[in-house]
Symmetry: C2
Subunit: 66 residues, 2 copies
């Protein structure tokens, strides 16, 4: 499942470690999400979208499919 985490993270000037800390997960988890190794729980997806002031649907391109 594709997403725009890296793009938004760059826009906000955050490192993976900083984002991880902000949403309460490990940095490796952010790496795996950005690399598409697995898709997040809805809870985590929501926390990340909140940090970036956007919606889950927008951040994870849900109109492209699930």
């Amino acid at each position: 499942m594709r997403n725009r985490i890296r793009e938004y993270r760059a826009r906000y000037g955050l490192t993976q470690a900083e984002l991880a800390r902000l949403v309460g997960v490990r940095r490796e988890t952010i790496v795996f999400l950005e690399k598409g190794r697995y898709s997040p729980s809805l809870r985590l997806a929501c926390r990340i979208a909140k940090v970036f002031g956007t919606t889950v649907d927008e951040l994870f391109l849900l109109q492209e499919g699930c």
Copy 2:
């Protein structure tokens, strides 16, 4: 995490079993989601929103928090 699955399901006149079949999970999973026993994966959340022609953010009231 609150959601409007039951409300949308009623609006579409679907049983829990029918919705479960449409999104490829067991009926018990739908029961647990409606009852709030756990929150879904983003993948499942997206499939359910798709069936109801709405967004994940709207269906799971994500503006209320994660």
